[in-house]
C-alpha cells in the first residue's frame, strides 16, 4: 500500500477571504510545505471551494501528476464532499483526499498569528504524512430482496405496508394479535376532528388484507433474525388459530354453539367476556373467528386424552374449524424491516392512593373510551360499571404514570384523549358533570387548541392540579381530593366515575424485538426504555443504528395517530430507498481483517456494537467482518491485540505518520 510508487502530494491552503488568512499566515504555510520531500506542489488560494479553486486542483492533477491531495480550509463537514468530487472527476480515487481544518479549529479559535500559523503548519504536515498512506476505496454491490417485513399491524404498520406496495415492494405484515388494526381499531372517535375511527381505519385494514402484494399473518411473531449479504433471514412463528381463514364465513354458528362463555375480552382490556371461539371485534380482519386454547373445552381436555365438546366443529357449515393446526415455523429473507410494535397502557394498580383495583368505577381512560365504541364491549353505551347505568358525574385524572416519579416523559395524547372523552360523554348524556384534573393542558397540534376551546365552552370543569387521593365512599361514590392551583383552593369533588389517563409504555415484546433486530434502546435500563432508538432524533427519526431496520409509530415514543401515520410513511420511504434498485452499494471501507495475522481471539467480536464480526474456522479461527452490518466505527480495530483488524483510512499505519507529522516540525518552528 505504501512505498509502492513514490507519492506526489499537492497541498492547497485556502485563505477563505480573511477568515483564515486574517489569523494564519497561509503563504508561510504553503511555503513551509514545499520543504517536505513528499510534496511536489504547494500553493495558497483565496477561495479553494470556488469554481476557480476547484479548477486549480483539477489543473494541478493534470499538469503535475499529483496523486494525493491535501486541502487546508474549513471543516471537512462542509466541503470534504466537494473536493472528493473534484478528485473523482479527474480520475483520482476520491479517497485520496486529506482535509485539514484550519478555520473552525484554528483561525476562529485563536488570535496570535504566529502561534496559529505554527499550528496550521503542524496540522498540514500531519495531513501530508497521512495522505501518502491513503489507499483507494471502491465499492461493492449486494443484491437485496424487494421484500419488507413489517412487525406490528396497527395503523402505522398498515400504512407503511400500503405505501410500500405502491412502490411495487412485497410486504409481509405480521401481528401477534388475531386481527390487524392495533389500538386504533378499539377507538370510537379520533381527535381533533371526531371522525369515526373505524370509518377511516377499516378500509385501510381491508386494503392491506386484500392487496396481492401484502401477506397478512396474524398470531405471528419474529423469533430470530440474521444478516445474509444485504438481506435479513428472519424466522417467523405463527401460532395456531384453529380456524381456516379461507373457509370461515363469519356466520356466528360456532359462537352460538360454544358453551364456554367466560373468556375475558382481551381486545378491549378485559372489559366484558367472549366465548372461547370469538371475533376479536366486529370488523376484525382477517374476518374469521379464532379459538382461545386456554378457554376451549376441547383443547383444554385434548392434552389429557379426553375428547369432549367440539360443538363448533360439528356445527360449522363450512368446515372451517381445524383443531389439527399447530405452531408453524417459517424462515424467509427480507431486504428491510419496519418495526411498528406500538404501545400499551401503564398499569395504575401500583398507585395505591388512586384505588384503581378497589373500585370498578375507576377505569383507565382507554377502558373509558372503549365503551363508546359501537362494536365494543358495551355496544357503544357509556355505563358506570358498578350499576350498569350512565354515570351522572365523571372526573378525568391526567398524567397517571407520566410526568411524575414513575416516568418523566409526557404521554402526548392524554390531554386530547380526555377532551375527546369529555365531549363524547356530554354528547351521550348532556347532563353529566365532567371534571378534568390536569397538570398542564398540552394541546399542541393542528386544530387541537380550537378543540380544547370548544370543549371548555361545553361546561367541562377544569381543575389545575393532580389529585392526592381518590377515596371510595361507602355508597360507591368516589371522592377526589385535589388542590386547584389556578384558584388556589383545595377541592373535594364527588363523582360516580373516574378515568385515569395513564401513561404509555412500549409494548411488552418490544424489548425482545429490539434485540432480535439489533436496535438500541432509547436510554439505558428500565422497562420504559424499550422504546426504539432512532439513528438521529431530528435528522434520522425513522432510521436505526441497524442499517435496513426502520421504526415508526408509538414503538419509538408515545404519539398521535397523525404522527404515527407520518412516521409510517417516512419509514416506508426510507425502506424503499434501500430496496428500490434491488441492490445496495457499500463503500469498501468497512473494517478489514488480515487473515494471516489474526489469531481469532475474539476481542473484536466482544466490542462490535453491530454484531458484524464472527469467528470462523474449525481449528485456526479468524475474525470475519460482515460488510453489510459493519458501520465503520473502528472499535474492533482499537482492541485488536495484533493489529490484524483495521479500519481503512484509520489504520495504525495511517494515524501514526499523522502524529509524527504533527509533532515533527519542532526545529523549524523554533527558528521562525
Amino acid at each position: 500500500m505504501t512505498g509502492e510508487i513514490k507519492m506526489k502530494v499537492g497541498v492547497f491552503v485556502c485563505h477563505c477571504g480573511k477568515n483564515i488568512a486574517g489569523t494564519v499566515d497561509v503563504k508561510k504555510v504553503s511555503e513551509e510545505m514545499k520543504k517536505n520531500p513528499l510534496v511536489s506542489y504547494s500553493t495558497d488560494y483565496m477561495f479553494m471551494c470556488s469554481k476557480s479553486g476547484q479548477e486549480l486542483i483539477a489543473q494541478t492533477i493534470k499538469d503535475k501528476g499529483i496523486d494525493r491531495v491535501v486541502v487546508a480550509a474549513c471543516t471537512p463537514k462542509l466541503h470534504e464532499k466537494t473536493f472528493r468530487r473534484v478528485l473523482q472527476k479527474n480520475n483520482l480515487n476520491p479517497f485520496y483526499l486529506e482535509f485539514v481544518n484550519i478555520r473552525e479549529q484554528n483561525s476562529w479559535i485563536h488570535s496570535d498569528m504566529k502561534l496559529a500559523t505554527i499550528k496550521a503548519i503542524d496540522l498540514v504536515n500531519g495531513a501530508i504524512e497521512r495522505a501518502t498512506t491513503l489507499e483507494a476505496i471502491d465499492s461493492t454491490e449486494y443484491p437485496v430482496e424487494k421484500k419488507v417485513l413489517v412487525v406490528g399491524a396497527g395503523v402505522a404498520g398498515i400504512q407503511a405496508a400500503l405505501d410500500l406496495v405502491e412502490k411495487d415492494i412485497e410486504v409481509y405484515l405480521i401481528d401477534i394479535d388475531a386481527t390487524i388494526g392495533g389500538y386504533m381499531a378499539k377507538l370510537d372517535k379520533t381527535f381533533p376532528t371526531n371522525d369515526c375511527s373505524a370509518c377511516i381505519l377499516t378500509p385501510k385494514m381491508n386494503d392491506a388484507f386484500t392487496h396481492p402484494k401484502i401477506t397478512v399473518m396474524t398470531l405471528t411473531e419474529a423469533v430470530s433474525a440474521q444478516r445474509v449479504g444485504g438481506n435479513f433471514e428472519v424466522e417467523l412463528v405463527q401460532h395456531p388459530r384453529y380456524v381456516d381463514i379461507e373457509k370461515c364465513r363469519s356466520c356466528y354458528t360456532c359462537i352460538e354453539n360454544c358453551p364456554s362463555k367466560k373468556r375475558p375480552n382481551k381486545f378491549f382490556d378485559n372489559i366484558g367476556t367472549t366465548k372461547a371461539v370469538f371475533f376479536p371485534f366486529a370488523q376484525s380482519i382477517p374476518k374469521a373467528v379464532v379459538i382461545d386454547q386456554d378457554y376451549c373445552l376441547y383443547l383444554k381436555n385434548r392434552d389429557k386424552g379426553r375428547d369432549v365438546c367440539r360443538r363448533c366443529e360439528k356445527n360449522c357449515p363450512s368446515g372451517a374449524i381445524d383443531f389439527s393446526q399447530t405452531k408453524k415455523h417459517i424462515t424467509m429473507e427480507f431486504g428491510a424491516i419496519i418495526l411498528a410494535t406500538g404501545f400499551e397502557d401503564f398499569d395504575p394498580s401500583i398507585i395505591e392512593e388512586y384505588n384503581y383495583q378497589n373500585s370498578s368505577d375507576i377505569v383507565t381512560n382507554s377502558e373509558f373510551g372503549f365503551m363508546f365504541n359501537v362494536s365494543g364491549p358495551t355496544d357503544g353505551k357509556l355505563i358506570r360499571p358498578s350499576t350498569n347505568k350512565a354515570p351522572k358525574s365523571v372526573a378525568f385524572i391526567q398524567c397517571v404514570g407520566s410526568r411524575d416519579d414513575i416516568a418523566e416523559y409526557c404521554c402526548n395524547i392524554g390531554c386530547m384523549a380526555s377532551l375527546k372523552h369529555a365531549y363524547l360523554t356530554l354528547k351521550q348524556n348532556p347532563d353529566t358533570k365532567v371534571y378534568i384534573c390536569y397538570s398542564d393542558m398540552r394541546t399542541v397540534g393542528k386544530g387541537y387548541e380550537e378543540y380544547y376551546k370548544r370543549i371548555r365552552q361545553m361546561g367541562v370543569r377544569f381543575i389545575r392540579g393532580k389529585p392526592s387521593q381518590i377515596d371510595v365512599l361507602p355508597d360507591r361514590q368516589l371522592q377526589i381530593k385535589v388542590y386547584d392551583s389556578a384558584i388556589e383552593k383545595l377541592e373535594n369533588i364527588t363523582v360516580e366515575m373516574a378515568a385515569l389517563q395513564v401513561g404509555l409504555r412500549p409494548s411488552k415484546k418490544a424489548g425482545e424485538v429490539r434485540k432480535i433486530f439489533g436496535v438500541d434502546p432509547s436510554s439505558s435500563g428500565g422497562e420504559m426504555n424499550d422504546y426504539f432508538k432512532e439513528l438521529h432524533p431530528k435528522l434520522e427519526p425513522v432510521d436505526t443504528k441497524a442499517a435496513g431496520v426502520y421504526i415508526c409509530g408509538c414503538a419509538t415514543s408515545p404519539k398521535t395517530i397523525t404522527s404515527s401515520v407520518s412516521e409510517a410513511k417516512a419509514a416506508a420511504s426510507s425502506a424503499s430507498s434501500r430496496l428500490i434498485t434491488g441492490k445496495i452499494t457499500i463503500a469498501n471501507n468497512t473494517a478489514q481483517v488480515n487473515e494471516e495475522t489474526c489469531v481469532g481471539c475474539g476481542a473484536c467480536v466482544e466490542v462490535c456494537p453491530f454484531d458484524a464480526i464472527e469467528l470462523q474456522g474449525p481449528i485456526k479461527r479468524v475474525a470475519v467482518v460482515n460488510p453489510t452490518a459493519c458501520k465503520k466505527c473502528g472499535t474492533c480495530a482499537s482492541v485488536c491485540p495484533t493489529g490484524s483488524m483495521q479500519l481503512p483510512h484509520y489504520r495504525t499505519i495511517q494515524i501514526l505518520p499523522q502524529i509524527k507529522g504533527i509533532t515533527d516540525k519542532n526545529l523549524e518552528v523554533k527558528e521562525s
Binding site: 438500541d520 439505558s524 443504528k545 476481542a603 466490542v607 473502528g634 480495530a637 482499537s638 491485540p641 509533532t663
Partner: protein, 322 residues
C-alpha cells in the same frame, strides 16, 4: 520548550466531539492554541497505542473525546474508549508516568462550551506538569504489540520504575496470562502447536520436551484452552507488568519423551502414557510403547479408533485365556 509551543493531541469523534469543536469555532469560543485535533469516526476508533504514541512523539498531553453516555452514534464506542483511557492511565501510573497526561471527556455536538472548557482545563493542567522523558528515538517498531511494549519499556526505564514494577495485574482484553494445572498437564504440546503468536513454545531435546510461556506475546485468544485435551489451562485476560516488560519466557511444563520400541521415534511423553495407562490395562503392555504408526503396522488397526481396537484386543485376550 515554551509553553505555547507545547502540543496537545486530541482524538475527536466525528459525530460529537469534532462537531462540538467546530461549533466552538463558529461561536467564537477559545481554547489553548496547543491543541491539535485528529478526527476519528467514533471515539472507540482511538487505539490505545495512538494515545501512547502521541506522548512518545513529544506531545505533552493527549485527550480523547466522544459522545455523551448512551448517545454514541455507534452503540457504545464511547464506553470502550473510556475503558481504554482508564486502562492507559493505570498503565502509565504503574510505569511511573503521571496519568494526568491523558484524559477522556464526553460531550454532545451541541455542547461547544463544555468541549472548550474541558479542553482548556486539560491543557492548562497538562502544561503545568513536568516534562515527560524523551523516548522518541527508542520507538521504532511498526508492529502494534512491539511498539506498545517499546513505549512502555522506554518510559519505565526513564523513570526507573522498571526495577520495581507493581505485581498487581491490570485487566484488559487482548492480553493473557495462562495458569496451568500441573496435575493435569501431560506436556503433550498441543497448546504450543496451536498458539498463533508463539506465546507458548515447545523446546525438545533428545529426551525431553519443555514448554515455555511468554506473557508479552499472549493475546488471550484461548486457542491453548481449546487445544488442551486435559483441560489444564485457564487464561486470565490481564497484563502483569513485570513479565510483560521483561519479555519473560518461562518454562511452565515439561516431561521426558518416550521413544517407540519398534522404530525409535519420539511419540509421547511419560506423562501422557501415565495418563492413559489405565486404558491399556487389558492389552499387551507392549502396545503402549509403540508409536501410532507402528501400532497401525503391528496391530493392523486404526489406532485412533481405540475402542474398536480394545474390543478386538479383548476378544483376543479372552481367546488366549481359553
Amino acid at each position: 520548550m515554551k509553553k505555547e509551543k507545547e502540543r496537545v493531541i486530541g482524538f475527536c469523534c466525528n459525530e460529537c466531539a469534532y462537531a462540538a469543536a467546530d461549533l466552538a469555532g463558529q461561536s467564537g469560543m477559545k481554547y489553548p492554541v496547543n491543541v491539535r485535533i485528529i478526527r476519528t469516526p467514533c471515539s472507540g476508533t482511538t487505539d490505545p497505542l495512538w494515545v501512547l504514541d502521541g506522548l512518545a512523539q513529544g506531545a505533552k498531553g493527549v485527550f480523547v473525546s466522544g459522545c455523551l453516555p448512551d448517545q454514541c452514534h455507534y452503540g457504545d464506542g464511547n464506553v470502550h474508549m473510556e475503558e481504554s483511557v482508564v486502562f492507559l492511565r493505570t498503565l502509565l501510573k504503574a510505569i511511573g508516568i503521571n496519568p494526568k497526561h491523558i484524559i477522556s471527556y464526553l460531550n454532545s455536538a451541541g455542547m461547544p462550551e463544555a468541549f472548550s472548557n474541558s479542553t482548556s482545563d486539560f491543557v492548562k493542567g497538562v502544561l503545568s506538569l513536568p516534562t515527560l522523558p524523551n523516548i522518541k528515538s527508542e520507538v521504532k517498531s511498526a508492529d502494534k504489540r512491539e511498539r506498545f511494549l517499546e513505549i512502555l519499556t522506554a518510559y519505565a526505564k526513564a523513570t526507573g520504575k522498571i526495577d520495581k514494577l507493581d505485581e498487581k495485574p491490570i485487566p484488559r482484553e487482548g492480553f493473557g496470562l495462562i495458569t496451568v494445572d500441573e496435575d493435569k498437564c501431560v506436556s503433550c504440546g498441543s497448546c504450543g502447536y496451536l498458539c498463533e503468536t508463539n506465546a507458548i513454545t515447545i523446546q525438545e531435546s533428545k529426551k525431553h520436551r519443555k514448554m515455555y510461556f511468554a506473557h508479552y506475546l499472549c493475546t488471550g485468544c484461548e486457542a491453548c484452552v481449546r487445544a488442551c485435551p486435559t483441560e489444564a489451562i485457564t487464561v486470565n485476560k490481564e497484563i502483569h507488568l513485570k513479565p510483560f516488560l521483561d519479555k519473560e519466557n518461562n518454562q511452565f511444563a515439561g516431561s521426558q519423551l518416550v521413544t517407540c520400541s519398534n522404530c525409535a521415534d519420539k511419540f509421547a511423553t511419560v506423562a501422557i502414557l501415565e495418563k492413559i495407562e489405565d486404558q491399556f490395562e487389558l492389552i499387551d503392555s507392549e502396545i503402549i510403547s509403540l508409536c501410532p504408526s507402528c501400532i497401525r503396522d503391528v496391530v493392523g488397526e486404526d489406532f485412533v479408533n481405540l475402542s474398536r481396537y480394545l474390543e478386538a484386543a479383548n476378544i483376543a485376550s479372552e481367546e488366549k485365556a481359553k
